[in-house]
Amino acid sequence: MKKLLKQLSGFLLIALLTAAVFDTTPAIGQDEAGPVDEYLELVEASGAEYAPAFDFFTVSMLWTVIAAALVFIMHLGFATLEAGLTQSKNTVNILFKNVWIISIGLISYAVLGFNTHYPVDSWQIPGWLGINGPIGDLNADGGDTWGYGGLSLAMTGYGDFIFQAMFAATAATIVSGAVAERVKLTSFMVYSTILVAFGYTIAGSWHWGGGWLSSLGGGDAAFYDFAGSTVVHGFGGAAALAAVLILGPRRGKYTANGIKPIVGHSMPLATVGVFLLFFGWFGFNGGSVLSANPGPLGLVFTTTALAAAAGGISSILTSMIVLKKPDLSMALNGLLAGLVSITAGADSVSVWASVLMGAIGGVIVVFSIVFFDKIKIDDPVGAISVHGVCGIWGTVAVGIFGGASLMSQVIGVIGVYAFAFIFSYVVFLVIKMTMGVRVSEEEEAGGLDIGEHGQEAYNIT
């Protein structure tokens, strides 16, 4: 009891010091006026030229934060999908990694990620590297209205922050599926922190942050990645490939007599996961409209949904014809493949182009999954195929169907993928040489739940 009290007071002291450093004191002063009065004051204070558009601003900001919540639920999707496609003896470990990723993702994005992703004017190497520090009060200096983005951004500073923060952790969680069932927990915790804090943000700064990719080509020939087929999904897929190459396959998967499949333990969980991801994608793509502009918003919802559906159908057909049986896990991956394939061009392609893009993604993903198994790259959930390979297709497809310059799309893909791969490879290799990245053979056989956590996922009496 005494020991607990000592530890508790120690933690409280650290928490108080942190609060003092990061200035968590809220604005003091309660207004007598109600919310409607406050809103009117806000409108007036912004200036006359913004008043007519203020309702649009408000609705857009509302949509943005709702979209942020939708992207958040994708993390539950990732968690359940990964748990479903892996063995029950590793379920606690998979879920644990997913809890870590969303937690460290959000915090690191506040501590340095957001301002590194969007350096604005503080680049160390202009257009390439702009590592910066924590967010301050984003509502200050007009950041709670048009003062934040002027007429080009219909959201407040915090709206921008929270929406982007939810994206950041998705890149690291893509890797968690590929390295499942054999990666060492602490090594992954270190790796994913560095990946989301620096890797994702630096790569993203090249395009969305105004770096070299955003001015590549220029005008109509500019690199176009609407919601991140390359800068989010491609980044994650390429990083995952690098990690898996260093990590190696699960034991017993590739034998002298061929591939011995390691079957996922819960198809229901996997299915719940994919549908949650599909649901969240409406926020992922829909929120990337960055406003409530009715035209693009309706289009993006439609292209997103149809591409997913097309991906599902085409992967089902491919599975039935090429693999002889309709494989549920392939059908699920097909939905995701369709979604990744439309993510770069959801707002810039026609509805029928989106169907075609999704359908082609669904075919690609089946062949890609089988291919990686053939060359002995073990990816338990197909993350490299769904996000990495289909991310390439989704980005390049905008050059075919969406009017972007094909050359710019290809250069962008190569640039981001190469960076993601190399960054991930180097970080993972350093971790391998210092901490090790893989659990022991015994632990892998007995399960990471017991080995890393000392607890089991299913305690059925």
């Binding site: 591939i259 011995k260 693999l323």
Partner: protein, 112 residues
């Protein structure tokens, strides 16, 4: 006393239970098991790779019976569990040295 152990196809469990009840046997222990005899497994496919599953799900029933009830019990199981197709299972009869009812401490045949 004898311990009658039967391995049967899982979907036959209810039928076997009813058949045993009809010959006066009301108590049994049931376990979910895997196994194979001459029935070969089947091929499954997962993400493009084929693999064979040799072990098939079965159900094991154990009943403790008096010597003069063994043949009736065994026949009841055989009749109700039979489908005529391969994989129907087997019945084993083992000698049972003693049985004790935990609640009352009775032992021997009165514990059955």
């Amino acid at each position: 006393m004898k311990l009658v152990v039967a391995i049967i196809k899982p979907f036959k469990l209810e039928e076997v239970k009813e058949a045993l009840s009809e010959v006066g046997i009301e108590g049994m222990t049931v376990t979910e098991v895997k196994g194979f005899g001459r029935q070969k497994g089947h091929t499954e496919i997962y993400r493009g790779s084929e693999y064979t599953v040799d072990f098939l799900p079965k159900v094991k029933i154990e009943i403790a019976v008096q010597d003069d009830a063994v043949s009736e019990a065994a026949q009841a199981i055989v009749k109700s569990a039979k489908t005529g197709k391969i994989g129907d299972g087997k019945v084993f009869v083992l000698p049972l040295e003693d049985a004790i009812r935990i609640r009352t401490d009775e032992s021997g045949e009165s514990a059955l």
